[in-house]
C-alpha cells in the first residue's frame, strides 16, 4: 500500500462529506470511523515494525511533477509515524466527538470537510519527505485551521481570530519556505532525508536558512513571542480546539524541529534560542493561564506551556532530553485532547464555560467527572499514569543535567503550576461547590454518548500506556529519539525507579500542586504580567492596522477614481520607460524601410480619413458622434489590414468595432453631453502627453520595422501549419492548436470579464452589511 494512500482516502471522504452527512449520517459515521480506525491500525503496525528495527518506508510517484522543485515523495521514519498515530488516533476520537457535538443540526454539515482536509494535510506534513511538498501540506493545515477557527463565521471575533492565526502562521510558513529554498540551493536537494544525512556528515547549513525555518516552526507552534494566536483560536468549536490546537497542528512546529534536529544542532545559537524561547513560552502560558476563568482558555495556555517545554527540551538536544520530550508529547496529546473534549462537554451540557459559575456537576455527569479527573491526574503526573512516566524522566534528566539546578527549578515550577491549572479544569466543575448563580446541575442538556467516548478512551489510554510503558513504549521511544538525534540510541523505560531524588520531587510536585489549587482562585482580572504579555498581541494588532491603513491611503492616492489621472500616470510612465530604454541603448536612429515600392493611392486615401475623424472626435460635444467617428477610424484600419494581407485581422476588427459601438451606446445613453471642466493649463499638459505618446508610437513602429533581434518564426509556423496541424490558415492554427493554451486563457478571461461586468452592473448595489477586519471591542 503506498504511503500516501491514507492522505488521498481522507481527502476523498472530505470531498464527499458535506452531502453524505446531510443525507445519511449513520453510514457517514461508519465510513469515517472505519477509515480512521484502519489508518490508525496501519500506522501502529508500521510504527511497531520500524521501532523493532524494520526499514524506513518510502513512497513516491516519481513522474507526477516534471520538476525537482516539488516531488511527490513521502518517507515514514519513527518520528513521522508517531505523529501519524497521534493524528489518526485522536482524529478518530475527535471525529466521533464532533458527531456528538453537532448532533443532527445542519450547522455541522460543513464541518467534517474542513476537519478531514486538515487531517489529510497534517498526515501530509508528517509523512512528506520533500521540503516543498511539506510546505504545501503545512499551508493547507493553516488554511483548514482558518476555516475551522472561523467556523462560527457570523461572529466578528471568530473571524478576526481566524485571520490572526492564518496571518501569523502564514507569514512563518513563507519564511520557512524561503529557508527551505535556500537550503535546497545550498545543498542541491530538497529531500529532508538527504538534509539530515548532510548535516550528520558534518556539513553546516547556512545560518540564515535555519533561522527562517525556525521562524516557521515557532509561529506554527505558537512559541514566544507569537503565542497570542493560540488562545484566540479557542473561538473555534471544541472538537477543533481539541484536535488542531492542542494535539496535532500546534505540534507541527515541534515536529519540524525534530525532523531537522541534526541541522539545528550544527548551530549553538539556534539551540540556545530554542531553549530561551521555549522557557519563555512555558512561563508565559503559566502566567496568562493563571488568571483565566474560561475552561478552554486555561487549557489553551497550558498547551502553550507544554509546547514551550517541548521546544526547550528539543533545544537542549541530548538523547535524554529528547526522550523526555517524546514522552511528554505523547502524554500531552492524550490528556490534553481529552480535557478539551471534557470541557466542551461541560459547555454543551451547561451552556457555560466560566470556572466561577461551575460546580457540583459530579452527580449529573459522573462518567465525565471521573474521566476528567483521570486525565488531570495523568497531566499532574500521578503514578502509574502516562504523565507520570514523562515527568519522572524529566526530573531524572534535571538531576542528571549537571551542577546547575536551574532546569530542575524551572521544571518544578511549570509542573506544579500545570497541575493546579489541570485540577481547576477537572476538579472544580465536578467536585467544587456549586455557586448560586451557576447553571443548575439538575437541569442539564443531555449529552450524546459519542461525546464521552473521547475522554474515557483517552483516560484508559493514559492508564494502559503508563502501566505498559516499559514494554510498549521503550522500543518506540528509542527509535524515535534515534531518528531525531541521528545516532543510534537504546532505551529501556521503567515505571518504577526506586526511591530516588526524582521520585521525592515528584511527590513534592503533587503536594504543592494540590496546595496551590486549594489555596488560589482565578479571578479573571489581569495583572501587570498579563498586561505586559498582552503587549505582544497589541504589537501584532498595531502592525495589522498600520498595514491596512497604509494600504488604504496608498490606494487612496493611486486609485482615486479620477480616470484622467489614471491615463496620465499610465501614459507618462510608458513614455518615460520607453524613452529611457531608447536613450540607454544609444538612441539608434531610425532608417526608413527600403524596397517597399510606392504606396498605392487607396492607402494614401486613409490618411485624410484618419485626420478628419480624429479631429472630429476631439472637438465634438456628442458622445455618440465621437463613438461613430472612432468606429470609422477602426473601419479604416480594418481596411488597411485587409489590403495588407491580414484578412483574419480585418474581419475580427470589423466585428469588434461593431460590437464596441453597440455596447458603448448602452453605456453613454444616460450620460450628459461632453463638457469642458478641466482648466486650460492641464489641457495643455494632456495635449503634451498625447502628442508625446503619438510621436513615440510612430517612432517605435518605424523602429520595429528595421530591428530584428531574433530570427522570425513566421516561416517555421507556416511550414508546420499543414504538416503538423492539418490546417492551412496559420492564424487559426496558432489560435486553436499551437498556442491553444493561451486561447483557453483568453476565453476564460473574457468569460470572467463578462461575469464581472454583470456583477458590478446588476448586482452591484451597495450591500447592507459588510464584513469588517477590525478587532472586536
Amino acid at each position: 500500500m503506498p504511503l500516501y494512500l491514507p492522505i488521498l482516502l481522507t481527502l476523498l471522504l472530505a470531498a464527499l462529506s458535506p452531502w453524505w452527512v446531510a443525507r445519511h449520517r449513520a453510514s457517514f459515521m461508519a465510513a469515517g470511523t472505519l477509515l480512521q480506525l484502519g489508518m490508525l491500525a496501519h500506522f501502529v503496525k508500521l510504527l511497531a515494525a520500524v521501532s523493532s528495527g524494520g526499514p524506513v518506508l518510502r513512497g513516491s510517484a516519481d513522474n507526477l511533477f516534471p520538476t525537482d522543485l516539488i516531488q511527490w515523495s513521502f518517507m515514514a521514519g519513527p518520528w513521522s509515524l508517531l505523529f501519524a498515530v497521534m493524528i489518526t488516533g485522536i482524529g478518530l476520537l475527535v471525529f466521533l466527538y464532533a458527531l456528538g457535538y453537532f448532533g443532527n443540526s445542519e450547522k455541522g454539515h460543513r464541518f467534517y470537510a474542513s476537519l478531514l482536509v486538515f487531517e489529510a494535510a497534517m498526515l501530509g506534513v508528517v509523512l512528506a519527505d520533500h521540503a516543498v511538498l511539506l510546505f504545501l501540506f503545512w499551508e493547507l493545515t493553516s488554511i483548514s485551521s482558518f476555516f475551522l477557527i472561523a467556523y462560527n463565521h457570523k461572529e466578528n471575533e471568530a473571524r478576526w481570530n481566524a485571520l490572526q492565526a492564518l496571518l501569523v502562521t502564514g507569514i512563518g510558513g513563507v519564511c520557512m519556505l524561503a529557508g527551505f529554498l535556500m537550503l535546497g540551493n545550498h545543498w542541491g536537494t530538497l529531500s529532508f532525508d538527504s538534509w539530515r544525512g548532510m548535516a550528520l556528515a558534518g556539513t553546516a547549513p547556512p545560518l540564515a536558512a535555519l533561522i527562517l525555518i525556525l521562524l516557521g516552526a515557532i509561529t506554527k507552534s505558537a512559541l514566544f513571542p507569537f503565542f497570542f494566536w493560540l488562545p484566540n483560536a479557542m473561538s473555534a468549536p471544541t472538537p477543533v480546539s481539541s484536535y488542531l490546537h492542542s494535539a496535532t497542528m500546534v505540534k507541527a512546529g515541534i515536529f519540524l524541529i525534530g525532523s531537522l534536529h541534526p541541522l539545528f544542532e550544527t548551530s549553538r545559537g539556534i539551540m540556545v534560542t530554542l531553549v530561551v524561547l521555549g522557557g519563555l513560552t512555558s512561563l508565559t502560558g503559566l502566567l496568562l493561564g493563571w488568571v483565566q476563568t474560561d475552561l478552554k482558555k486555561i487549557l489553551a495556555y497550558t498547551t502553550l506551556s507544554i509546547l514551550g517545554m517541548l521546544a526547550l527540551l528539543m533545544g537542549l538536544g541530548s538523547p535524554e532530553a529528547l526522550k523526555v520530550a517524546v514522552l511528554v508529547m505523547i502524554g500531552h496529546a492524550c490528556y490534553k485532547a481529552g480535557l478539551f473534549m471534557a470541557a466542551g462537554a461541560v459547555d454543551k451540557a451547561t451552556g457555560c464555560r466560566d470556572l466561577r459559575k461551575l460546580g457540583g456537576l459530579k452527580r449529573a455527569l459522573p462518567l465525565l467527572g471521573i474521566a476528567s479527573l483521570g486525565l488531570a491526574l495523568s497531566k499532574a503526573g500521578f503514578p502509574p499514569l502516562l504523565g507520570f512516566v514523562g515527568k519522572e524522566y524529566a526530573y531524572k534528566f534535571g538531576f542528571g543535567a549537571g551542577e546547575s539546578y536551574a532546569l530542575l527549578v524551572f521544571l518544578f515550577i511549570i509542573n506544579t503550576g500545570l497541575m493546579a491549572l489541570a485540577l481547576r479544569v477537572a476538579w472544580t466543575p465536578f467536585r467544587g461547590e456549586a455557586p448560586a448563580d451557576g447553571p443548575d446541575p439538575a437541569s442539564l442538556k443531555p449529552l450524546s454518548p459519542l461525546m464521552l467516548t473521547g475522554p474515557v478512551v483517552l483516560t484508559l489510554a493514559g492508564v494502559v500506556l503508563g502501566l505498559l510503558a516499559p514494554s510498549l513504549l521503550s522500543p518506540m521511544v528509542g527509535a524515535v529519539v534515534s531518528q531525531i538525534h541521528g545516532r543510534e540510541v537504546v532505551f529501556s523505560l521503567k515505571l518504577w525507579h526506586g526511591f530516588q531524588p526524582a521520585l521525592f520531587l515528584s511527590m513534592a510536585t503533587l503536594a504543592c500542586g494540590w496546595w496551590l489549587f486549594r489555596s488560589t482562585r482565578a479571578n479573571g482580572s489581569g495583572n501587570r504580567a498579563t498586561r505586559f504579555l498582552g503587549g505582544f498581541e497589541g504589537t501584532y494588532e498595531a502592525c495589522h492596522r498600520g498595514l491596512m491603513s497604509g494600504a488604504s491611503s496608498f490606494s487612496g492616492v493611486l486609485q482615486n477614481g479620477d480616470l484622467r489621472f489614471y491615463l496620465r500616470c499610465f501614459f507618462t510612465s510608458v513614455l518615460a520607460l520607453v524613452v529611457y530604454k531608447w536613450w540607454s541603448s544609444g538612441f539608434g536612429w531610425i532608417s526608413l524601410p527600403e524596397n517597399n515600392g510606392p504606396v498605392p493611392w487607396v492607402e494614401w486615401l486613409m490618411l485624410p480619413v484618419f485626420a478628419v475623424f480624429l479631429l472630429l472626435i476631439v472637438t465634438t460635444r456628442s458622445r455618440i458622434f465621437a463613438l461613430l467617428a472612432l468606429a470609422v477610424i477602426g473601419l479604416a484600419i480594418a481596411f488597411l489590414f485587409a489590403r495588407l494581407g491580414a484578412p483574419d485581422l480585418a474581419l475580427t476588427l470589423l466585428l469588434v468595432e461593431t460590437f464596441t459601438i453597440i455596447l458603448f451606446i448602452h453605456m453613454v445613453r444616460g450620460l450628459p453631453k461632453i463638457r469642458t471642466i478641466v482648466p486650460l493649463r492641464s489641457r495643455v499638459v494632456d495635449i503634451g502627453i498625447a502628442a508625446g505618446m503619438g510621436v513615440m508610437m510612430t517612432l517605435l513602429a518605424l523602429k520595429t520595422h528595421t530591428v530584428q533581434t531574433h530570427e522570425t518564426i513566421s516561416s517555421t509556423l507556416t511550414e508546420w501549419s499543414y504538416a503538423l496541424a492539418k490546417g492551412k490558415n496559420v492564424v487559426n492554427v496558432i489560435l486553436v492548436d499551437f498556442r491553444a493554451l493561451d486561447t483557453l486563457g483568453e476565453i476564460t478571461v473574457i468569460a470572467l470579464a463578462a461575469v464581472g461586468v454583470h456583477m458590478l452592473w446588476v448586482k452591484g448595489k451597495p450591500s447592507t452589511k459588510s464584513g469588517s477586519d477590525t478587532p472586536p471591542p
Binding site: F659, V731, I747, A751
Partner: protein
C-alpha cells in the same frame, strides 16, 4: 425598437447570419475565419433578433441564457484538451479522426482543435450576450 423594416430585416438576416457564422467557424482552419470571428457573427445575429423586438430580449433564438453559453464554451475547450492526454500525449495535443470525403464540404478533417474552436465560438457568443444584456439593463439570469 419598433421598426417594421428592422423587424422584417431581422427575420431574414438572423438565421442566415447564424448559418454563415457556423460556416465561418468550420472553414476557419483553412481559410480566414474561426471560432472567434464566427462567435461574433452569431452574436450579431442574436442581437439583431433582439433589437427587432422578437421574443424575450438578450437571449437569442433559443431563449438560452448567456450563463448557458459561457460554461458550455469553456467546458468544451477544456474537454477538447483531454483526448491528447489519453493517447499518452500532452495536454491539448491535437487528436484527429481520419479524413473522409463528403459532398459539398469536400475532404473533411475532424479533430480536437475543431472542438476547441467550437468552445471558443460558444464562449464568445456568451460573452457578447451577457455584456449586451447587462449593459442594456435587462434581466439575464
Amino acid at each position: 425598437m419598433n421598426s417594421v423594416l428592422l423587424h422584417i430585416a431581422a427575420r431574414f438576416l438572423s438565421w442566415p447570419l447564424l448559418i454563415v457564422s457556423i460556416w465561418i467557424l468550420y472553414r476557419g482552419h483553412n481559410l480566414p475565419g474561426g471560432g472567434f470571428i464566427g462567435g461574433l457573427l452569431a452574436a450579431a445575429g442574436f442581437l439583431l433578433y433582439d433589437l427587432s423586438g422578437h421574443g424575450r430580449p438578450a437571449r437569442g433564438f433559443f431563449s438560452l441564457s448567456p450563463f448557458f453559453f459561457l460554461p458550455l464554451g469553456l467546458g468544451l475547450a477544456v474537454l477538447s484538451a483531454l483526448p491528447g492526454m489519453l493517447g499518452g500525449g500532452t495536454f491539448m495535443q491535437g487528436v484527429w479522426l481520419p479524413g473522409f470525403e463528403l459532398p459539398l464540404l469536400g475532404s473533411v478533417h475532424l479533430g480536437t482543435p475543431l472542438v476547441f474552436d467550437i468552445g471558443v465560438w460558444f464562449a464568445v457568443i456568451g460573452f457578447i450576450l451577457l455584456l449586451n444584456g447587462t449593459l442594456a439593463g435587462e434581466e439575464t439570469s
